[in-house]
C-alpha cells in the first residue's frame, strides 16, 4: 500500500506527537451501576513516528484511552495534546481511528465504505478510485467490492474498516484491536503491511492488541496496562530496527520481550477477573 501512498513525514516537525497529561476518565453512575473509574490518572508521550502498542486485561480501559486520545471523549481530569494543540472535544485533523466494534456502514457497498472519507474530504475521483482500488485489493476484498457489509464475514467487515481509515493517510493512526477477528496468518500479513506503511509514511501508530507477540513484533514501545482503573504498569521498549517484519519473531531475544509482557499481565488479568482491584502505584511516561 505504502508504495503508492505519498509519505507524510511527521518526525521532523514534532518530537512529541501527542501527549496525555494526568488523564483520568470516570463514567458517571447510571441505571444499574455506580460510577466507573475506567482510566488513569495516566500520562503518556507519544513520540512522533513511533509505533506504540498497548496491552492490558479485558475491561482495563484501553478503548477508553483511545477515545480520550482521539478527542472522542473528554477526560474527567488532565489534558490531551496533539501536534502541540490541545484536544478539546473534537477530533483533530490527521487522526485516523479503527474501532473495536464493527463500524462499517451497512448502507454502503464495500468500495463506497472505503471511499467514504476520501469523498468527504473532497478528493478528486481519479485519485479516490486509485486509492480505493489499491486498499480493497490489499485487504483481500476484491471479489466483494460491490457487496454490502451484511454479506461479509466478521473478519471481512473489520478489514473494510481498516481500509477506510488507512486510505486517508492519517498522521496519527489509532487502532483498537483491528485484527481481532482475523486469523493469525492474515494478521501477520496485515501486520507486515502496516509496518511498511508506517515506515514509509512516517505516521505515528498506537495499536491496542490482545496478542502479545503481535505487540512485540510491531512496536517500538509497548505500554502494559493494569486492571481497571487503567494505568501503565510499565512501558517496555523493544529496540527493534525500524526496518523489521514478521521474520523478527525468529530472533532469540524476541521471546524475552513477550515473556516479560506475559509476566506483567498474568497478575493483572487475574485481578481483573476477580473484581475490583486496589489502586496501583505504577505510572509510566
Amino acid at each position: 500500500m505504502a508504495t503508492r501512498l505519498a509519505s507524510v513525514p511527521v518526525a521532523e516537525t514534532y518530537k512529541v506527537h501527542a501527549r496525555l497529561d494526568g488523564v483520568t476518565r470516570i463514567y458517571p453512575p447510571r441505571a444499574g451501576h455506580g460510577e466507573v473509574h475506567a482510566l488513569g490518572p495516566l500520562s503518556l508521550d507519544l513520540r512522533a513516528g513511533e509505533f506504540l502498542s498497548v496491552v492490558g486485561p479485558s475491561g482495563c480501559g484501553k478503548s477508553t484511552l483511545l477515545d480520550v486520545l482521539a478527542g472522542l471523549a473528554v477526560p474527567s481530569a488532565g489534558t490531551v495534546e496533539f501536534e502541540g494543540k490541545r484536544v478539546l472535544g473534537e477530533v483533530p485533523d490527521g487522526v485516523g481511528v479503527v474501532f473495536q466494534e464493527d463500524a462499517s456502514f451497512p448502507w454502503l457497498s464495500v468500495e463506497d465504505n472505503v471511499a467514504f472519507g476520501l469523498r468527504r474530504a473532497g478528493m478528486d475521483a481519479a485519485e479516490t478510485r486509485r486509492r480505493v482500488d489499491f486498499a480493497v485489493g490489499f485487504m483481500g476484498l476484491k471479489d466483494f467490492r460491490r457487496a454490502y457489509p451484511s454479506q461479509l464475514s466478521g473478519g471481512m467487515r473489520q478489514r473494510v474498516c481498516i481500509a477506510r481509515t488507512l486510505v486517508l493517510q492519517p498522521r496519527l493512526i489509532l487502532l483498537d484491536e483491528p485484527f481481532g477477528a482475523l486469523d493469525q496468518q492474515t494478521r501477520l500479513l496485515m501486520g507486515d503491511e502496516l509496518l511498511r506503511l508506517w515506515r514509509e509514511t512516517g505516521a505515528t501508530v498506537l495499536l491496542i492488541t490482545h496478542a502479545l507477540d503481535e505487540a512485540n513484533l510491531l512496536s517500538d514501545r509497548i505500554g502494559v496496562m493494569a486492571a481497571r482503573p487503567g494505568r501503565f504498569i510499565d512501558i517496555v521498549g523493544t529496540g527493534w530496527p525500524r526496518d523489521r517484519d514478521s521474520r523478527l519473531a525468529e530472533r532469540p531475544d524476541f521471546g524475552a520481550v513477550t515473556a516479560r509482557l506475559w509476566s506483567y499481565l498474568r497478575g493483572e488479568s487475574l485481578k481483573a477477573l476477580q473484581g475490583s482491584s486496589p489502586p496501583l502505584g505504577g505510572e509510566a511516561r
Partner: protein
Amino acid sequence: MTLSLRSLRSLRDPILVAIGLVTLWQVLHQIAGDSAVTAPAPTLAHLWEMVGQARFLPHLRETGLAFLQALAISCIGGVLVGVVLGGHRLTGEVAEPILVGLYSVPKITLYPVILLLFGLGMPAKVAFGALHGIIPVVLFTMNAVRNVNRTYLRAGRAMRLTPAQTAWHILVPATLPEIFSGLRIGFSLTLLGTMLGELFASQRGLGFLLMTAIDLHDVKTILAIAVLISAFAVLANAALLAIDRRLHRGATPEAEKT
C-alpha cells in the same frame, strides 16, 4: 435527592411549554377575537364550570368507556399484529400494503361501512376509535421488529425459544422505544377516533357535546372540550414517556456530553 431534582426538571420543561402554549392562545385570541378563539381565562373558567355540572359526567363516562375499549384494541391488537407482520416476512409483505392503503383512505368516508358492520352506538364508536389508533401502533412495531438486530434473533433460536417467547422476550423489549412511539400516537388517535364516531351520530359523549357546540358556534365550549382532551392526552403521553424511560433505562446510553 438527585432523583427528585431530575424529575422536577423533567416536569419543569413541559410546564414551560404549556405556559408558552397558553400565551400563544392568548395572542391568537387577540388576533382572531371571540368568534374564533375565546381567551384562556374565561375558557378555563367555563371548562371548570362544565366539569362541575352533574350532566357532564354521563358524557364523560360514555366517551371514556368507548375510548378504553378502543384503546385496548389499538394497543394490544396493534402490538400483536405489528410483531406478527414484522416477525413473519411473508405475512408482512402480504398484509402491509393492504393495511396501509386502507388506512390512508379518509375514515369519514368509510363511515357508512362502519355503520353497516357495527350498527349505531357503542360498538361503532369503539370500532371507529380503534380504526384510527391501531395502524400507527402496527406500523411502528412492525418496522422496529423488521430492523431488530439479527443476532438477537439468532441467539433466541439457539436457546430454542418458542415463537411466542421470541416475540415477548426479544422482539418486544428490543423494540420497546418504537412501540412506545407508536402507542403514543395510537393513544391520541384512538381518542380522536372515538370522538369522531360520536360526532356523526350520538346522544351522549364528548363528541356529542363538541358537535352541538360547533353547531351553535359556541366557541367557548369547543375550546373547553379541546383543552380538556388535549390536557388528558398530554398527561397520558407524559406517563407513557415515563414508563418507556423506566422500561429500557439500561438499554440506551444517555447522550454523552462532550
